[in-house]
Assembly symmetry: C2
């Protein structure tokens, strides 16, 4: 647990401006649209001719992450990923981010550096500039707030509201793995808490752990769709589970849907974990979360082109709103889909 490192540098030795100066050193600006980054009252951007896309997400210790098993570097990385994922879900290109962090005094400078290392790695990977933010102390937990800014031509934007009857429903990658990883980490944490002599056993679960701790956004799919000149009729990123996201698209587009359980892409490790826990793996995909895959719809006549894009799977189609939103299960029964959302207020 990095936060208990007492051997590092006390943040108070730097003061606010010292800390800002220190953190700014590692920041590189690459976007031509960034006219002014950190160092003034605000950043200045130049998105001439394009539309500006803005999204924001807040990660809170104890709710969205557990520092007992989340490396700080991964946390910084994930904070950026979940936001650029929302920009891709608009079929837009992320360009800048701002990052605000509240950290308790128990954090050393080295711990903050680790968070920013992850942030900078993600900024490099997704080619976005870190242009502003705020660093403050917290009396209690760690809190990271990121705002991502992107751009797109208006006719390229994919809202949740554009799905049409007969459109194909597509998902990228595989689903439920991040949730499976979380279940594993929670189980091992409980075992460790009951008996600190038992070392966590995480072998053979690399994929689901990585999906939970270091998710990626689908920059590649955004680019493939651009290359194929396909503008999805609707799109959303899968952060709250397939069921919930499909529900949103149908509600916003005023349509129904039919998907097939057997077509939902699920990784072998997710299967295995669900089995170990005596759970249904489809539940992981439908109601789990944090996949950061893309769910989108395209007109039926794009079927052949979509088939050519690696890592995209057609799992069903859009139908009339009157037909409802449901999944055809493996046993051919029809199951109504429901919106979930987070439940951290009710837990």
């Amino acid at each position: 647990m990095q936060e208990n490192n007492t051997q590092g540098t006390d943040i108070s030795t730097l003061g606010e401006f010292g800390l800002i100066k220190h953190l700014s050193k590692s920041i590189k600006l690459n976007q031509t649209s960034t006219l002014k980054g950190i160092g003034d009252d605000a950043a200045v951007l130049n998105q001439s001719g394009k539309k500006t896309i803005v999204t924001t997400d807040l990660l809170v210790e104890g709710i969205h992450f557990d520092l007992m098993y989340t490396p700080l570097r991964h946390l910084g990385y994930k904070a950026i990923v979940v936001n650029v994922s929302d920009v891709y879900a608009m079929n837009a290109e992320p360009k800048q981010v701002t990052v605000s962090i509240a950290i308790s005094k128990r954090f050393t400078l080295e711990a903050i550096d680790e968070i920013y290392e992850g942030i900078n790695m993600a900024c490099e990977k997704y080619n976005v500039d870190l242009v502003g933010g705020d660093t403050t102390s917290s009396l209690t937990g760690l809190c990271i707030s990121v705002t991502a800014i992107g751009e797109a031509d208006e006719d390229q934007l994919a809202y949740r509201s554009g799905a049409k009857v007969n459109d194909l429903i597509c998902v990228t990658g595989d689903l439920g793995a991040a949730y499976a990883g979380l279940q594993l980490l929670d189980r091992e944490k409980r075992i460790f808490e009951n008996n600190p002599n038992i070392q966590p056993d995480l072998t053979g679960h690399d994929y689901i752990l990585e999906r939970q701790l270091k998710p990626e956004a689908r920059k590649d799919i955004f680019e493939s769709l651009q290359d194929a000149k396909i503008v999805p009729t609707s799109m959303i990123d899968i952060s709250d589970g397939l069921s919930s996201e499909l529900f949103h698209i149908c509600e916003e587009s005023n349509v129904g849907c039919q998907i097939y359980e057997e077509k939902i892409p699920i990784d072998y490790e997710t299967h295995k974990m669900a089995e170990e826990l005596n759970m249904n793996y489809s539940i992981f995909a439908l109601n789990g979360g944090e996949d950061y895959e893309l769910l989108f719809t395209v007109p039926l006549d794009k079927f052949e082109e979509i088939e050519k894009i690696p890592d995209v799977k057609v799992i069903g189609h859009i139908c009339d709103a009157s037909k409802g939103k449901y999944m055809v299960a493996r046993d051919n029964t029809e199951i109504a889909l429901q919106a979930q959302g987070w439940t951290n207020f009710t837990e």
Copy 2:
């Protein structure tokens, strides 16, 4: 203390999507540049031809505010104000904000509504659209993260780095009052904690209390400067005290400065409070914070025009960097100015 209201509606009865729907009802969009607000993966803005200004600030319970004496409505209002203030400090016009809030379960729906009432009031006053955000629970304190987005023509922007030798140094309003208000609230809180039978005595201190609890950003000055066709050579908003902000402008502009203690505008109530506390009132203005007034420089030949703008005072001038950054005190001694910044890591 609103947070301990046990008679209100439990947030868990709504769930995430219910809460978002509930909060969205009261949101009005007024800006033509807002193409899409809340309700998709991201907001979409259209700032055709102008530069985009982005700034963000994080307010954390126990660090930036004390719920013992901060009404939630005021807190929501202030969270918007401190951000639009940064946009005005670029000589730009705020247009949109996103708001992310982490709230503990002890908050009722009515408490959240109060925060958003303040947020909506500020959005209306400053004519900005609330276009996105995130609402999550927190295991501990309340945390509000706001990002403000504005626009300006490039030649209208006022950076910290443009001050020139002989420029006049101007401030708006009066300084130190918010800090005086904080001192008063802290004193009365301590008295109350020692003896809950003693009611806080806040009479005769309305102005400094309002400055602390419900600050305003200088939209009027931004507009007056536009009307007078004056583009400040440099500008910053005063959130960390005059000394610190002047230090920033000098450092970024590579110049020195000379200001006069007797010219620093200080309200009578601030004077009075400093006297009661046996402190020097100039210290309140120089090292206090949260004034959200504007500090800016203009060329010497703008003197007459600047004089005509109500609530703007010339307090000194920019000189060569070699002359240093100092204040001529009432007794004619010269005092070197220092950068402060927050010290909440060291307290």
